[in-house]
Symmetry: C2
Subunit: 125 residues, 2 copies
């Protein structure tokens, strides 16, 4: 007979999450305020995070770097941690994908232009 025991997951406080993900404590609090990262609370009111908080914060950083806002990320979170996803969310995923791709293309064009300038200034000191 097998008994499923709730694995006493080791909970972290906010500082550990921040250091682990390479962001500031302030940033982690901000994510909670924006509804990105929900934390449990200790009896004294301190935030307690599960292990997956760190990769999650890293994911947020990646999305921020890609130009998504925290609001967009909250709207897309259901696609991420649940299998539950409706047509609207899939459409948003695709739309964001296109926006990122377009931005990459723009930046690549800018890079090519800059490389031209560099080539000129190098051969033409």
């Amino acid at each position: 007979m097998t008994v499923t025991v709730a694995a006493a997951e080791r909970l972290m406080r906010i500082g550990e999450v921040a250091r682990g993900a390479g962001v500031s404590v302030r940033a982690v609090r901000y994510y909670e305020q924006q509804g990105l990262l929900i934390a449990e609370r200790s009896p004294s009111g301190q935030r307690l995070y599960r292990q997956d908080a760190i990769p999650l914060v890293r994911f947020f950083q990646e999305m921020f770097a890609a130009g998504l806002t925290s609001r967009r990320i909250t709207e897309l979170l259901p696609c991420w941690d649940a299998g539950h996803t409706d047509a609207g969310q899939r459409a948003m995923l695709r739309a964001e994908r296109e926006r990122i791709q377009a931005k990459i293309d723009d930046m690549q064009a800018a890079l090519d232009h800059l490389d031209e300038v560099i080539a000129i200034t190098d051969t033409h000191p």
Copy 2:
């Protein structure tokens, strides 16, 4: 005997520049305020631009999209329209190039991650 005559270049007012480059009039004024785009003035004080103002504004837009600030662009302008370039400026060019490349790599990583999520949500409706 050849005589060089200053070609009476057709000058544009700010609206034409803005429409031609696809930005707002406000944006063009802002570029001047930041020292990016110097305009002559008509006797009544209106800004007058040469033809190359339009590609120049487009270039600014491209650099903004790549994450450069107007200050950086002003610092790099001498490399652009003059052959004059010192070692410091060439170093800055390279530094900006690296920053842009790094940002592109980050965004590509984000895009790949998003594509994974999209693949999951598609095969797992």
